[in-house]
């Protein structure tokens, strides 16, 4: 890994920390407030690609584990990882990796704009929602004892918000791709 990749990984982890400091947005039609930080997984994969995106999130989870309050709302420490939603946090790196893989596969330079949008949205949904829930929900069920089916049904509340996040991440990722493309120069 060259120094530039290392710096990109660290800077992206720092961006995710800052996204946690931005106040969450509440929308009338969605029951849960949207934190900018939870878009980080989709953004990381779509903007710096699979490998660097995953490493940025491994670094971020390391910050959580060593006791820095970097999660939105000033949370952090091993207690969060030991709690029921620890699986979602540990799953972020995998989710960012898959997002990156899909984005790298489907988004290329010189494509029509609309195809890039579709590619980024697909990547965000597959990596940031499907893969993340596939790790987080069974984990939550195993740790808290809530039956898997109940946990999965309960998680559906978050899906509309997640789709909105995927849409915002898509627009942001495409803006960055147009302004300063990093995805093609893979690590």
């Amino acid at each position: 890994m060259n120094t530039r990749d290392l710096v990109l990984i660290a800077l992206f982890a720092a961006i995710v920390v800052v996204l946690g400091l931005i106040p969450p947005i509440t929308l009338g039609f969605i029951p849960v407030p949207i934190t900018a930080q939870s878009m980080g997984v989709m953004l990381a994969g779509c903007i710096i690609g699979a490998k660097r995106g995953a490493l940025a999130f491994l670094l971020f989870v390391l910050l959580v584990a060593i006791g820095l309050p970097v999660l939105s709302g000033g949370r952090g420490g091993l207690a969060v990882l030991a709690g029921p939603s620890g699986g979602f946090i540990l799953g972020w790196a995998v989710a960012a990796f898959v997002t990156g893989l899909v984005a790298e596969r489907f988004v290329h330079e010189g494509q029509r704009e609309i195809r890039q949008f579709v590619g980024f949205f697909l990547a965000s949904v597959v990596g940031g929602i499907v893969v993340l829930y596939a790790i987080g929900v069974p984990w939550l069920s195993a740790v808290s004892g809530t039956p898997l089916l109940t946990a999965a049904t309960g998680s559906l509340v978050f899906i509309p918000g997640d789709l909105l996040k995927a849409a915002i991440a898509t627009l942001a990722a495409r803006a960055v791709y147009a302004g300063y493309p990093l995805l093609p120069a893979r690590a």
């Binding site: 720092a14 006791g67 709690g83």
Partner: protein, 201 residues
């Protein structure tokens, strides 16, 4: 801006080596998940609670650190009440709360430096395989701590720019510029690191 969750103190738990604390956390989690007995889980919960609340944090501070996780645990326990027998729900509740309290205790009694030393040790096998370098991990961690205040200042500047133009502050119009402006610095920072020979390349 990023103050660690470490709490200054001289208790015996503070003085334990990190490795012992992390091993204890691992063993405790395995042990707690291996048993269903309330006679074992209730004392474990009380013991972890006593340990955590005797660290010198005020009650309010101590609760604020674990409050969010406890909230999730209690919500899930409330749902479980409808689906599982009561003793089982009690066992699940006590087990998770004990584990979270112990984890919070480890976090509160261990400095970032001590954690980093342990991580460097744990990464040694990977280093020997040539997969990564422990020094790179420390460097990346240092970079994050160094640049968070800068990036936050940039976020505020972009927000002010929105205000000055009378634009609504939306995440979409902020995140794009924030990421581009930040990542554009990568080349300069990388050049500065290489010029100082930090990575001996």
């Amino acid at each position: 801006m990023l103050t660690s969750l470490y709490v200054e103190g001289r208790s015996w738990f503070h003085r334990l080596p990190v490795r012992a604390k992390l091993l204890a956390l691992l063993v405790l989690s395995l042990a707690l998940f291996a048993t269903q007995s309330l006679y074992l889980l209730a004392p474990a919960f009380l013991l972890c609670g006593w340990l955590y609340f005797s660290l010198g944090l005020t009650f309010r501070q101590a609760l604020a650190r674990v409050g969010f996780v406890f909230f999730t645990i209690l919500v899930l326990a409330a749902i479980n009440l409808f689906l599982l027998p009561v003793p089982e729900v009690a066992a699940l509740l006590l087990r998770l709360m004990a584990l979270v309290l112990f984890a919070a205790t480890v976090t509160a009694t261990t400095t970032i430096g001590a954690f980093m030393d342990e991580i460097t040790f744990l990464l040694k096998p990977f280093e020997r395989l040539g997969l990564l370098r422990a020094a790179d991990v420390s460097l990346a961690l240092g970079l994050v701590l160094r640049f968070v205040p800068d990036i936050f200042a940039r976020y505020e500047a972009i927000r002010e720019a929105h205000r000055a133009r009378g634009l609504p502050i939306r995440p979409l119009t902020i995140i794009g510029p924030l990421i581009i402006l930040t990542l554009k610095d990568a080349d300069t920072i990388a050049a500065a690191i290489d010029a100082r020979g930090f990575r001996r390349q």
